[in-house]
């Protein structure tokens, strides 16, 4: 699909309105999977279409289509214009206050070792090898290995001269083992939160398929492990849990469209209010969080968001104090609050809304040994398996695949079914130890759901291991 020629054809027949923009998307997705040593159907997904936004006569509308012929685009533009006119009198946002991007630019990130540099047969052989390792005993009842790759190309043009090209590739490898004994099953996985931008070199960097042996061994160990103890104790959350903690109880509550009420019918609102910006103590002084769209290899890196706003690294929380929200240009114009360039659309068929992109908890100065040594009684937890939080993003309960006891500063045996619960507004103030760069990991989640109509989008999170004091920890019944 040649986006440039499609854009040129559209520009020649562009609608006669006050402002228009055209986003063209061409995604090529490939998924390979071997389960129980059987290759599952290789799947290729070619996703392409156009989103046309129109501002005219005081209204805004959009038209999205998979018909990229000039006639198809013209029809979508007409739909967008019709919606702009029909809703102008009832529009929540006056399009006159919105910035219109006119600049040109390009972002391109591809791996050192391209996806196409390994044959399909070799990729399948890699997955088969991983399967043989994952089947580590009779009690492993299901096992699988997966590879996914996305090559994405986007072109945004506008009636005022914007021309922004962005193309990159993303990759991920997942390992999974289920162990069973009677009416108890325990799962261990690796890689579900380790998607990155880049090529095949990212697989090795994220432990694929080298972690297969550990994944299977830990699934078996969990079957025989005691249950996680219950009580108030310290929590040492590893990056495989920290990404979820950051995502749910910092990322979502700081999305400005939630604060402005757009999401109240679906994803929810936020305990954060506009008056808190600049003064609110979100966490202990050890808490430093950045929006960083330029982090090399992180999943949601880009140079421009999907409304064309140039993206730059910004502190969101510094020294525990809230400095800005996660709101794009539209939300910033509506509220007058500071934000970031995070207006993003999941695909060509959905309009941009405020989303997390790369949201990172910055490393501290403690080694993992020092973090463990600081805990008298607590639980080390890794790999999120359960997440639930209220619509204000306050009362949460999270669970992990695996835990380990910590007693008198020493890491002890494995425990199963570890969970903890808390309240965002107070939980981050119990942060008492932040791991250094040696514990800091760049991770990425493939789908985060939000929006009406619904949108599932990729987000990046980097985080170190962290210690929290006095947490409500519990196991099974």
């Amino acid at each position: 699909m040649k986006l440039e020629s499609i854009a040129k054809a559209f520009r020649e027949r562009a609608p006669e309105v006050e402002y228009w923009s055209l986003m063209l998307v061409d995604d090529r997705f490939e998924a390979l999977s071997v389960r129980q040593n059987v290759l599952q159907p290789v799947n290729n997904w070619r996703n392409g279409g156009a989103m046309i936004a129109v501002h005219d006569r005081g209204g805004m509308g959009y038209g999205a289509t998979s018909d990229l012929t000039p006639a198809g685009l013209a029809e979508a533009a007409a739909r967008a214009t019709e919606w702009a006119h029909r809703t102008a009198a009832r529009s929540l946002v006056d399009p006159a206050i919105l910035p219109r991007v006119a600049q040109e630019g390009r972002y391109s990130r591809h791996g050192e070792r391209p996806w196409s540099g390994m044959s399909l047969s070799d990729k399948i052989a890699l997955l088969q090898d991983a399967n043989r390792t994952l089947k580590a005993g009779a009690r492993i009842v299901d096992w699988s290995a997966h590879l996914v790759h996305l090559a994405r190309e986007r072109l945004l043009i506008s009636s005022v001269g914007a021309r922004l090209e962005q193309d990159f590739e993303c990759i991920g490898g997942i390992l999974s083992a289920a162990a069973n004994d009677g009416s108890e099953t325990q799962n261990r996985t690796h890689g579900e939160d380790l998607f990155r931008q880049g090529g095949l070199e990212q697989l090795e960097a994220t432990g694929f398929p080298g972690e297969a042996e550990r994944v299977a061994a830990e699934a078996l160990q969990l079957l025989d492990a005691p249950d996680c103890p219950s009580g108030t104790m310290d929590l040492l959350a590893m990056p495989g849990q920290m990404v979820l903690q950051v995502h749910e109880s910092i990322g979502h509550p700081l999305e400005l469209d939630r604060i402005l009420g757009d999401e109240r019918n679906y994803a929810g609102t936020s305990f954060v209010t506009p008056e808190m910006i600049g003064t609110y103590r979100y966490g202990s002084p050890l808490l430093n969080v950045t929006f960083d769209p330029a982090r090399e290899g992180e999943l949601a890196s880009y140079r421009f968001d999907d409304e064309g706003t140039p993206a730059a690294r910004e502190y969101v929380i510094r020294g525990g104090i809230l400095e800005r929200t996660l709101g794009g240009a539209v939300s910033q114009a509506r509220s007058g609050l500071p934000g970031v360039a995070n207006s993003r659309a999941s695909n060509w068929n959905r309009p941009p809304i405020d989303r997390m992109a790369n949201l990172n908890l910055e490393p501290g100065d403690k080694s993992l040994a020092e973090l463990i040594g600081s805990v008298e009684r607590g639980v080390w937890m890794d790999t999120n398996r359960s997440w639930s939080i209220d619509d204000s993003r306050n009362k949460f309960q999270f669970g992990c695949e695996v835990g380990r006891l910590i007693e008198d500063g020493e890491l002890k045996g494995i425990v199963k079914n570890p969970n903890y619960r808390g309240i965002s507004a107070t939980f981050w103030r119990s942060l008492d130890g932040v791991g250094d760069a040696s514990t800091h990991e760049v991770r990425g989640l493939w789908t985060c759901g939000k929006g009406e109509p619904n949108q599932a989008i990729q987000v990046g999170h980097a985080a170190p291991a962290c210690v929290f004091r006095g947490v409500d920890v519990f196991g099974s019944e």
Binding site: T65, T87, D391
Partner: protein, 438 residues
């Protein structure tokens, strides 16, 4: 649209080589989406999308692909030819698939539901008038949906449905709000007015000073929309054959230990009564009903074509999760619910459920929207949000007091990637000793 699909199937047929066969599924929609906040329009637009999924088969080797198509014959032929070439090239490198199961008997079908949709903009005008003075937030979705199957053997299955789904909530201060939904095939202004009147009435109660409760065990009533949140989580891996055979179902104790729910609980995948297409993505026709749980005991699992081949069981579903879940009604008249509840919590909605212990089918989640504190059969106050953490075996087992005699038909509001055709048909549930933790 039908002509477009026939053209696509014909093009695919022309692109196949001797010894090759194909199956294809078209998923299409022409949708209006209007997003509202503060009873004003936040985003409004139209999405026209067509996606064709192809399975290109030679013997037991096959590769799958999907792509967006335009409806323009020349452009689509180029795109299909490129995709078929890719699938053919990849197929040379894949092993025979022992779990490939194709529909070999040609069984055509047609399911075209009448289109009684209103003009979206006019419906929105009526909504604005009905909600005057309210802080309304929500989404209007409407338009035709298409699903169609074809294969090399000439089988054709066509599904066409045009519906609307208006999902909204009206808000007071903070998290005090009431949620409602009006979905269907034919727009009736009187039905909207009735639902909005109920919202206004419940908002009056939500305006009272809220009540906070301590963690502990409470008697609760889960309205059908609240029970839907619970059953949607159980549907996530609970009923599929593969999940059962690999011991990963959340209903493992029912499968392995014979554990039972309350005898009042009967759950059926009601293919015939739901909104989803009557055929699978690979061309199998679905049976009218699959009984999942009957009288509290586990009966059948949902079987996709791949699992059917792997485990030697007849196909009875598309994916291995319910799309048209039907729960049998109970005996409690709806008008007697408050009286039977006595003192406890009346919960219209739950939110963000997830397993806290999958082996025990223990589920955590939040109360949300119109949750009320009830004393002596009277609604007294709105409830501040509470977290629950409770096992299905208790809430629909030994602690289930009863189900309502009346049920609600709930259209799924999901629009991830495309508008959902899922639905649920559920009663409300009266439960004692329901555990709240935070």
């Amino acid at each position: 649209m039908r002509e477009t699909f026939e053209h696509l199937a014909g093009t695919l047929s022309g692109l196949t080589e001797p010894g090759e066969i194909f199956t294809c599924l078209l998923e299409g929609e022409d949708s209006d989406f209007v997003r509202l906040n503060r009873n004003r329009v936040r985003q409004a637009g139209h999405v026209r999308q067509l996606e064709l999924s192809i399975d290109l088969v030679e013997g037991e080797r096959h590769v799958e692909g999907s792509l967006n198509v335009s409806g323009n014959a020349e452009r689509d032929r180029e795109a299909l030819a490129e995709m078929v070439e890719l699938l053919r090239a990849q197929r040379a490198h894949v092993e025979p698939d022992p779990h490939l199961l194709l529909a070999t008997e040609v069984r055509n079908s047609e399911d075209v539901r009448p289109n009684g949709l209103p003009d979206s903009a006019e419906a929105l005008d009526e909504i604005a008038r009905a909600a005057e003075g309210l802080d309304l937030v929500g989404i209007w979705s409407s338009g035709p949906l298409y699903r169609a199957f074809a294969n090399s053997a000439g089988q054709r299955n066509w599904y066409e449905s045009a519906n609307f789904n208006f999902d909204w909530s009206c808000h007071l201060e903070g998290d005090k709000a009431v949620k409602a939904n009006y979905a269907g095939f034919r727009w009736e202004p009187a039905a909207l007015a009735e639902k909005m009147a109920t919202v206004r009435h419940e908002l009056e109660v939500m305006g009272r000073p809220p009540k906070s409760i301590e963690p502990g065990h409470y008697r609760v009533y889960l309205a059908p929309s609240a029970l839907a949140e619970i059953l949607s989580i159980v549907s996530w891996g609970g009923f599929g054959l593969k999940a059962h055979r690999t011991r990963q179902t959340s209903l493992l104790k029912m499968a392995v230990e014979g554990r039972r729910l309350n005898p009042a609980v009967t759950l059926v995948e009601d293919h015939a009564g739901g909104l989803a297409p009557p055929f699978t993505a690979s061309g199998f026709l679905k049976p009218p009903r699959v009984t999942l749980i009957e009288g509290g005991s586990y009966r059948e699992t949902l079987v996709s074509p791949r699992s059917g081949k792997e485990y030697g069981v007849p196909v009875n579903a598309d994916g291995e999760f319910p799309q048209s879940l039907d729960m049998a009604a109970g005996e409690i008249p709806r008008q007697a619910v408050l009286e039977r509840l006595g003192t406890g919590l009346y919960l219209n909605n739950l939110w963000y459920c997830n397993y806290s212990d999958r082996n025990e089918c223990r589920i955590t989640g939040m109360t949300r929207f119109a949750a009320f504190w009830v004393e002596d059969g009277d609604i007294r106050a709105p409830l501040n949000p509470m977290r629950f953490d409770e096992s299905l075996y208790r809430m629909l087992g030994e602690h289930l007091i009863g189900l309502t005699a009346e049920r609600e038909f709930l259209f799924d509001t999901g629009t991830y990637h495309q508008r959902s055709t899922d639905s649920l048909h559920l009663p409300g549930a009266l439960i004692e000793d329901f555990a709240f933790t935070l």
